[in-house]
Amino acid sequence: MKKIKKQSIPGLLGKWQQEFTVFVPSKASGVSQMTVWDGKDTAFLDRNRNTAIPPKANFLPAMEKLFGFRKEAGSYKLEPADGEPPRQLLFGIHPCDARAIAIIDMVFKDAYEDRYYLSRRQNTVLVGMTCTSAYDSCFCTSLGFGPADPVDVDIMLTDIGDTFLIEEVTEKGKELLADAKGVVEATRDDEKKAAAARESASARVSRKIDTGEISKRLPLVFDDQEFWEKISAKCVSCGICTFLCPTCYCFDINDEMLRSDSGERYRNWDCCSFAVYTKMPVENPREEKWRRVRQKVYHKYLFYPELFDIIACTGCGRCIRQCPVNWDITQTLSNLPAGTPVKK
């Protein structure tokens, strides 16, 4: 293992900037999100809690131009969106958000390969950071990993005071650190400190769910309308839990007409909580709110595992702490009725 002093990080970021657009967690825009590093900010080295806007926005932006179009000689001429996305480096990403990206990779490279998403993804390196400051809404440790899990990043850093311990996870990660100034071999003592930091990071995550029990109960309660009506009563059908969810990937497609004969096609985040969801092509099959809330829970905890063998939730807790009515998915999951299916 290696290590680097925190004071050497700006130098390292500067070096990476020559090759990548470097993003760091920052509140400079007015909300915490991955933000292009300004070359000066170092606040995130000592305090790095999960950003409000998840890093999925770096791969699936809230809006993205797909192409331009122009009417020409009875047909349409397409103009591709501006070139290859820039190479980006996300510094300080937490394991839950890195895992979330690995989860939505599955859908974007499934039967249809989404080149917009995948080209951003392929042009990205992830420098992870052990999350030592989980929120009271976090529950990652119930989802088969934890706040120090390095498997979904290229390099993993763990805060051990004025220094980060470095794990080189991938080949890409190793290359990133080649000839890096300030990177030295870690001592046994450093590794011990890092192990303790990882352990206390995990211990900090106090909210728990029982995924085994959930996967047993969910198939039984789909038709329990009374339950779903009760737990969805206070939901106001806004898009916060979806848009800020690191694994929600639904998008809508819209044409912006610039003139009568030309325009641009965009995709933008969409949300199954909205009453008008999928209303444009057909109808919303989930007109009542309880069906939409049920869909959210089922998609993450039953349908996605059926398709990709993984729960589409990483316990980042954003949907809980950002919800304006404190609708809490862990409460719903913990209160699933155990009984036999209720037929309407």
């Binding site: 007015g30 806007i53 809006m63 009271d136 809404s137 009563a233 206070k234 898009g239 304006p324």
Partner: protein, 320 residues
């Protein structure tokens, strides 16, 4: 807020449900996060003991009324009662179908303000004790006191709880809050001092963050259109693509659309996940409505809704 008031509230509500005076109730229960509360919507009297009253009952529960059937008992702070009255004025709910349980509000603590003052997130704060004129905040072994005007929600500042517009029963006694008309106007003052171009830049920057989650609209009791203009596609007024121009346009129309109904309860700003200071817009609009029409939303259930009534004395220079 004393425990006795909480107990009295539970007793009254149990009685309402038992005697069939109401079919459902909307109140507050403890939330799942520190210092949080959450709406409790139930028709089951077994749930009544979960009801709470404390300085964190921030939700404006009137947003749920339109979706409910039968007779509904609702726990209301004064600002929520104004929203209820406004809904009655707009014929969105019938007066006889709602039983208003007024509660004395000693002010709601704005957790976002406490976070700013302490530099911490709410879950990192050990305790917040509200002592009428000040909040005693404990964190990391330190204790600090913040005066009411620094920690109360903007909507609470300058609020006169005595003119509670409408209720069926009132639990406890009305308490006075921090008085002073200019309190809660900080953001507006800041904006008024800007040159128009500078103000435009400010809002452009703010609305660049908007992700169009529509939490501002969904949490708003005054936003009760069955179909929002933003979702019209023929013609398309506003693009669903969250460009700042469309975001700003959406919010400007939404604000104008609720003029005369908006009670400036502050829920839109509280709900906004990207911290756009929407309260400055709603508060300014409330001031303009008051100045132009000598009208405050939700104060009189028998008054016609502002924008549907016209008086001959209203001079033409209103249209500018």
């Amino acid at each position: 807020m004393t425990k006795e008031i909480e107990q009295k509230l539970r007793d009254e509500i149990r009685d309402l449900l038992e005697t069939g005076k109401v079919d459902h109730i909307i109140g507050y229960e403890a939330g799942s996060l520190k210092f949080s509360t959450t709406p409790l919507i139930t028709g089951d009297k077994a749930d009544v003991d979960r009801l709470v009253i404390n300085p964190f009952i921030y939700n404006n529960l009137s947003v749920f009324l339109r979706d409910m059937c039968g007779k509904v008992g609702i726990v209301a702070k004064k600002c929520d009662a104004r929203s209820i009255v406004s809904l009655i004025q707009s014929q969105q709910i019938a007066r006889e179908n709602v039983f208003i349980i007024g509660v004395p509000c000693g002010g709601i603590i704005d957790l976002a303000k406490v976070e700013k003052l302490t530099g911490l997130d709410r879950d990192e704060i050990d305790d917040i004790v509200w002592q009428k004129e000040k909040a005693v905040v404990t964190f990391g072994g330190n204790t600090r006191e913040f005066p009411a005007k620094e920690v109360l929600a903007d909507a609470c500042l300058g609020c006169a709880p005595s003119d509670f517009p409408e209720y069926d029963i009132f639990i406890g006694e009305s308490e006075s809050l921090v008085a002073g008309k200019d309190l809660g106007r900080n953001k507006i003052k800041e904006l008024e001092e800007m040159a128009p171009a500078q103000r435009w830049e400010f809002w452009k920057n703010e609305f660049s963050r908007c992700i169009r989650c529509y939490a501002c609209r969904q949490i708003c009791p005054a936003c009760f259109c069955n179909r929002c203009f933003v979702e019209e596609t023929e013609p398309l007024y506003i693009s669903p693509v969250p460009k700042w121009q469309d975001n700003l346009f959406f919010q400007a129309i939404r604000m104008l659309h609720v003029a005369g109904r908006c009670t400036n309860c502050g829920e839109c700003e509280r709900a906004c996940p990207v911290n756009i200071p929407l309260g400055a817009l709603s508060k300014k609009m409330e001031e303009i409505v008051e100045e132009l029409f000598e009208y405050r939303a939700g104060m009189d259930k028998d008054a016609p809704p502002l924008m549907t009534a016209y008086q001959l004395e209203e001079c033409e220079d209103l249209i500018r």
